[in-house]
Amino acid sequence: MTWLFRTMIVPDSIVATVRSLADSFGPAASGMWATPLSPTGELPATHWISSGFVGDDFAAVLPLSHYVDDVWVTEPYDPAAFIAMCATYGIEAPTVEQITQIMGLVDVSEQESLAAMERLGLQIVNVEVMK
């Protein structure tokens, strides 16, 4: 297994769908996007973040954005790869339209979490330690 670093930020509007989809791939992808983000660092959450290593097979079916020289570029995305991976895992794949819609809203980069949040103008929502 080769691990690749990814920071994945999803808008609140689709987080339930994305979590459910990830959960279907098993424990390694389960429990993601549990950390809320917002522009002010206060609730309500507008986005959710996961950041860390993912398997190269998983990374290969996700979109990827990065700087090419001075320009922030999102690489062309092929939903067929995601559908093929679903088949490998024996799970029902979303439609091409659904995948295209989801992946178009997800921000996936190789940036460290702080850099990615800063780029998008987001902060982790402050949570007081339990008293």
Binding site: M1, W3, R6, M8, P27, A28, A29, S30, G31, M32, A34, T35, I49, S50, S51, G52, F53, V54, G55, F58, Y67, D69, D70, W72, Q111, E112, S113, A115, E118, R119, I124, N126, V127, E128, V129, M130, K131
Partner: protein, 445 residues
Amino acid sequence: MLGLSIPCVAVRGGITLSQQVASLFSASEPGVWYDPSDLSTLFQDAAGTIPVTGVEQPVGLILDKSGRGNHASQPTTTARPILSARYNILTDTAFTSAAQWGIGNWVFSGGEADPFGGTAAAKVQMGGGAAQAPGRIIGPVAGDVVFRVWWKAGNQAPVSLAARDDTTATILGSVRCDTGAVTGTVTGSIIRQQNGFNLVELRTTAFPPGNTLRIYLGGPGGVAAGTHSFWYGPDLRLVCDAGEGPTYQYVAPAAASYEVAGFSRYLRFDGVDDFLDAGTLDFSAATQAAAVIGSKKLRDVRAACPYSHGLSTGQNGAFRFIAPANPGQASVQASTRGADGVLRETVGANDKAAPIKLVLCSTYGADAPVSIRYNGTESRVSSGSLGALTLPSARSVIGAQVTGETTQSNFFTGRIYGLVHIARALSLGEQHILEQFMRNKSRAY
């Protein structure tokens, strides 16, 4: 910095320090002992089928060395901490002090977006009077180094990085920041371009161990007055062997080099979602406990927990380290929920601003306050006793606060060099054994 802390294998009566730590659990006391420096206890996956073989690999499972079998794991790949040994040798990497780089005629000031498109300004180097280049005497180093810095063109040309052996007063060579052209015995290139910046790398070759190294920004020949360029994020690391990776110094299999260099392995928690779940620690037969952790807190922006045991809102005897206790606060505390259901936190000045490396030793239990000791010396206690306390059988999490059976929050941003949590009172001597062990692992003091 290198050379300030000497790795120590303490031996008392022929017993190593590790053996002394293990002996604390000899009466089958409940507890945990995690030692990220011991690669034999680390696995990349939660099932324990893929061993960790070097730094910059995820840790999905860390084995408990206490003998109690309380191994800590993380099934979710993105939530796994990373075994690291990354140490930028430089201080003042944000160019906040001209003094660090040779005060001369150079001014460091904001004025440019950074290479990552952020709002933090890169710094500007301004030539004033006589031609010269900002430089830093790094000091004696253990061998070859790799130096990287982001550079963006201003009105100064040409611009180079240069390295000098100060012991022999020899310029070793330079790397042009705009072209990557190399002179002398160093190697180097432009390894990345982003947002108008070049990430320029310079490597020394066959640098004599123990000699003093100096790094120049702007080249050894000086830079004309009134000129400037933009710099960001200088980073200097030792090259421990030929397998050195791109952004960190290689460790395995060159353990000898690694130890000589003085780098310690640690678990890196990202403050976003990383944690390890140790499952249920049953301390219910005990009324006293102690926890010792070697850690480095990297941020104070949000309240965070390097370690927690039990639910502080519902389980008497629940314990946690908090670093910091509140957003933006320079605090590091220990906290326990007393027999009366009231949380008792150690009190004292908020004088532990990040980044800070600390060995924390906390004792807590019935009829006493919760205490914390920093780096073996400074002690603080809570304002009230914990009362007639029995400790809980409860979930334990490394890198976050327990908030439920499967939930957690307040993710820690920082490093953990080791952790021991044991369900019994420890004598002062036993506490010192653990503190010395964590000190050796963390070089915190």
